[in-house]
Symmetry: D2
């Protein structure tokens, strides 16, 4: 890569269009594996850039920009929103709704910033498509659905991704985070936690609310499970190991004067290490099953919802990425950090074909710091609002820089 690389960027008009595209994406988020309008919009953008593409994994889109001989490099952006009611107050805030698999209609928000990923990758594609003489090789653009449910990467692979697209020598990806715009953070080795999601249904016995003696109260039972699960992280694990056991949903009962027959809650478990993962999963089952016995209830039903693999940055591939990012963003803008507790199904894409992966975080918080009361809103908060101009500028620059570090002349 030469210094040319850093000079490549969108012009003012292109930037304005990208901002508008982002606003549209943000205002119209879609739930995981239902990114129909988002996929169509991506396809339309790729058409506008003259980039060939195909649908893959339902609502996934793969763009291929061939530019002569040279390496094949892939870059992935995930595209799904979340069932969160947006509270950012932005003029392009989402008011859209979606329907969960169980039929519940919910508000939807780009609460994890995947809209910035899509927009940044489209921006980077526009830069590279407009400067074909600065590089050669093949760029594979992967717009992946369903990251939040760990379904999308596997769906694309199942749908023949690497039979239909050229196989890359490396797969890149990036994620917006609450750090100053224009900066990035990167790890070598583990980059994100493994995640396991479980659905637990406890089976009690229904009765009139005034007759607890005829019930096995599933709400009291599940509440004891929730409080008892706290002891896994606090008492069972080596304090120097990281793990998270979150109960993200808890639903039981339709009427206050009926003790319901059952309660359902879902768990999200984060670990970095297979031993710790095994220890936590065993403890979760042990506690849930024993608490049901303590209630005199039948064995609860524990279902695996999905699992995120470990996301791992290839140590051999990381240094050149760091170099490219430093050159593009400045030395101080690139921080080497420990892995995050968040999870990613990004790793599946490279692992499936033995290609190394590198994934980094780019900043979404105004350089001057978060305005307004309270701490900076984090991903999955209803207040999470990446600063539009800076986030996209940083996301596009980082993507262009890293891609050119492999593809540049």
């Amino acid at each position: 890569m030469t210094s040319t690389a850093t000079a490549l960027q969108l012009d003012s008009e292109q930037t304005t269009k990208l901002h508008n595209l982002y606003r549209h994406l943000h205002a119209h988020p879609e739930l995981s594996m239902q990114e129909f309008a988002t996929a169509s919009l991506i396809e339309k953008q790729l058409d506008g850039l003259g980039i060939e593409h195909f649908r893959c994994g339902g609502t996934g889109v793969v763009g291929i920009l061939r530019n002569g001989d040279g390496p094949v490099v892939a870059f992935r952006a995930d595209s799904d929103g979340l069932p969160i009611e947006e509270a950012t107050g932005l003029d392009y805030a989402s008011t859209d709704t979606g329907t969960l698999p169980d039929g519940t209609v919910v508000p939807v928000m780009h609460g994890c910033g995947h809209d910035t990923h899509v927009a940044s990758l489209l921006g980077a594609a526009e830069v590279l498509a407009g400067s074909l003489d600065a590089w050669s090789g093949t760029l594979v653009l992967i717009f992946q659905p369903g990251e939040e449910t760990a379904a999308g990467a596997l769906a694309m692979l199942d749908d023949g991704l690497w039979d239909r697209a050229p196989r890359p020598e490396v797969v890149f990806g990036q994620h917006v985070m609450p750090r100053p715009v224009g900066t990035v953070a990167i790890s070598s080795g583990p980059v994100a936690a493994m995640a396991d999601s479980l659905r637990v249904t406890v089976h009690g016995q229904q009765s009139h609310g005034s007759q607890p003696q005829d019930s096995i109260d599933p709400i009291v039972m599940a509440a004891h499970m929730v409080t008892r699960l706290q002891g896994i992280v606090s008492r069972e694990l080596d304090p120097r190991k990281s793990a998270v056991v979150t109960v993200g949903t808890f639903h039981a009962g339709l009427k206050e004067n009926i003790i319901p027959a059952s309660a359902e809650f879902t768990l999200n478990i984060r670990t970095f290490d297979q031993d710790v993962r095994g220890q936590v999963l065993a403890a979760v089952r042990r506690i849930i099953e024993a608490e049901a016995v303590a209630s005199g209830a039948p064995k609860p039903t524990i279902e695996e919802m999905y699992r995120f693999p470990q996301c791992f940055n290839d140590p051999d591939a990381v240094p050149s990425v760091i170099g490219a990012l430093r050159l593009a963003l400045g030395d101080e803008a690139v921080e080497i950090t420990p892995p995050m507790m968040g999870s990613e199904d990004f790793g599946h894409l490279g692992t499936a074909i033995g290609a190394p992966s590198v994934f980094w975080m780019f900043g979404g918080t105004p350089a001057a710091g978060h305005e307004g009361p309270g701490p900076t809103p984090v991903n999955h908060s209803p207040f999470f609002a990446p600063e539009l101009e800076g986030s996209l500028a940083g996301g596009v620059s980082a993507a262009v820089a890293v891609l050119l570090s492999r593809l540049g002349n």
Copy 2:
């Protein structure tokens, strides 16, 4: 009352029609204050009996059967179903749905047996309408909506019930219970508990499921509230006093990898005594507010949903009711029992005009005992299934007997 009274009953054809009417009511339950089809059906039946009627309190129906000079006596049957998914396996089981005030679509079931109340009162009305020379006076038939939400009696009173119908000297009512068909249970003095229902919303802080440090976890907070509330009955009250604190619903979260912003649960509280009631309500607030402080969370929102008054049988009016029931059903069939923990808004109807009330329980369990595994299903269980023929025979007989004890020649 003479022995004639006990001889008055439905003939075989009338009985068959009543059974069919009951099957229809059972198959088509409606949620509280939405008993539109039920009200229409009641009106049609009253028309068939030539009994004048008017709508009152939305979906309430009042029938008036005037039969010359004599006392005015009222009898009330409540008509609403519950958000329960019926699991009785009956061939006339409900598969209908309804919509809760918050928009949730739910299955509906006559899980408290109000269909037997409506059918029994219509049956009794048919008996009395068919034997006008056996009695004189005025019978006021009150088909009340919305008992389960404590809304219906007040709605009828607000809608001018006692300005529009003759004021009775006594108000009767009855409820089906899991006891042998053909038997009744009755108390003197308190007959049912006071009930208070509260809705609690705890306010946490939303974050990514992998970042509990950025959250105030409302599910863990509410789970501690639920477990801590158990101590009110177990540690704070005189063990010789009765009280129930039920958490009937608990809802939080839409996705397992998001720690939600809030959790909501509802409480149903039963007491017999104003001091105990005050003590329990104060303890509930104290615990909920302190647990929020323990979580570092804002003060939770506690809303009163509704309140059931004490249901009280006038001690002066009870003996003649007992006498009439013994004559009609046999001495052994009438049990004097302590009050039940269940609640009733029935008491409002008489209290509003200073008229005494008497309320009793009639049996719904097969005389030979409950068939099938497990204990007899209780009211509000998805398996609650009054034995059709015996329940209605008992309900009609009890109603006719007690009415004639006041109205009979």
Copy 3:
């Protein structure tokens, strides 16, 4: 009994001596089955009254006052103190200590008022010994040790009580309570609850306080048991039935930076009904064993410490007792009450020989009400302080009156 009976009482000098005796007893309480000095003092008093006596059951004393032909009647006073640090501020407050069976040295207090029982019975004996012409028959005075541990009555029976003393036609007993001095309360039928005491040892795994991962934390485990046990009374029992599950002691650990190997707690369970008792005991075991499984710990050790039988007032014997008490104390002074949750091993004494028993409560609170801040201190409180003069006057009068109702000429 004639009106003479009520005229029989201690003279002023006798009363002063009795007050002094009481002050001494109160200042020098002894733990259960260690009432050595108390027994000697009782023997000395009986000697002074010329009443024959023998030791029975270790520290029990039986006095026999024979006065010609007539019925044999027994009256029991229990004599043990409790491991409580007295905080009454009385000038005759106890500062004595005792040694628990496990070797722990503890402060001791007459925190349940058994000193008033001993003094009242000695006072009544003095009255009757001084008016032999007012009655005839045989009075058996039972000064029973170890009521608080349910050991004393059985120890006396095991030591041949009824082979060594004349068998009575009825056994009487009384207990001081926080009600106005000069009043009594009495029940017919059940008078006190059954009690079961259990000792639970949970087995964890010891480790350094900084290495919870190497431990099975017995304190967290036992804390979850304590909180979970609350659900028995709040959720598993018919709210109209009375039961108490108290954890009275909890001991674990010697140093804050060591997670200990085990924790021990003791339970005291009160019920009135064998079905409820069985249900509670089964639930206690179920919860404790399941919580150990939830901790991945071995099965806890659950030992039965002792059991109190139901204390039952013979319905045929109660009316004459009520009559005598009303005559002696005034009609308003005698209240018919429901049974108390407290327990008594008194019932063993009569049950062993098929003799009926009657037990009542006499008042210890100043007639003008409790002085000082807060509610009236109850039995087992460190502030429990029966009002000396009134309590003894009432206790002596009640005992004399009831005894003379059987023995009086």
Copy 4:
């Protein structure tokens, strides 16, 4: 240091004597700040080696071995035992008892291996005292009492340690751990956690065990505190930060049928970072105070028992220590590890005079691995039993090697 250094060691007879000394120390442990016999024994040993010494900080002993010009170097061994009942089954196991500050008599055990520290330092002193021509300078031997209560180092400093002994250029120390004998582990930077110990007294209201309504139950209150405290580590901290909140003791109640007036528990808190420490301490107070409010109880009393500072290895001083250890024990025997969660007051000694410190862990587990069932017993376990010969050989070798790296010719 030359290769001579590693050749310096105890001869066979000296080794046998050291083993016997260790057995004696192990059999006769003493509680913190009560190490009277241990101090005398150390003094006797120093006398035998001709090393001058003085008492410091009560039961601390300081030896000074002057050997001409050269650097002053200090080495510290801590000497106290723990209130643990030894269960190792060793023939030299402790059966001694001690008396806690509150008067409780408890078994005492060298459950943290401080006996190996004392013996190893005495062994190293014997080696250096016997090879004065191999080194020059001054060796300050610090036998410190009361490490387990964070009292000993401060007591020695308060008693003028550095006014009475030559001030060293570096302070060394070591700790036995469950790792193979002959190996060591060392960190650069933080080496052990900060620790804070708190004593919490919750104030309830005493009553008879059958009358919970008259009590504020301190055992149920404290149990809720214990379970609620688990949420600090599990929900409030960044999962990538390490912290431990241990409740090491819990004491309440003397009798199962009395609800006691209060409960006391102690907390031991470990953190590495002042921010996390502040966050944990604030959360502990917040939860404990709020749970008291939830019980309707007065504000609990929270007392600071003691505090361990961070123990920090000077990064400039570490490399030469690592070099010396590798030379003495072999390259594979020296592991660079993350800091341990354990705490140490060792750091006070150097910090007080601005001298750098280096602290490492030496192995106590048989090279062939732990024999017997279950995992290797850890420090503070009643089964913790360093393998005698290997532990002392390793401890002496490491000490000699590191000392000679500074003092050797």
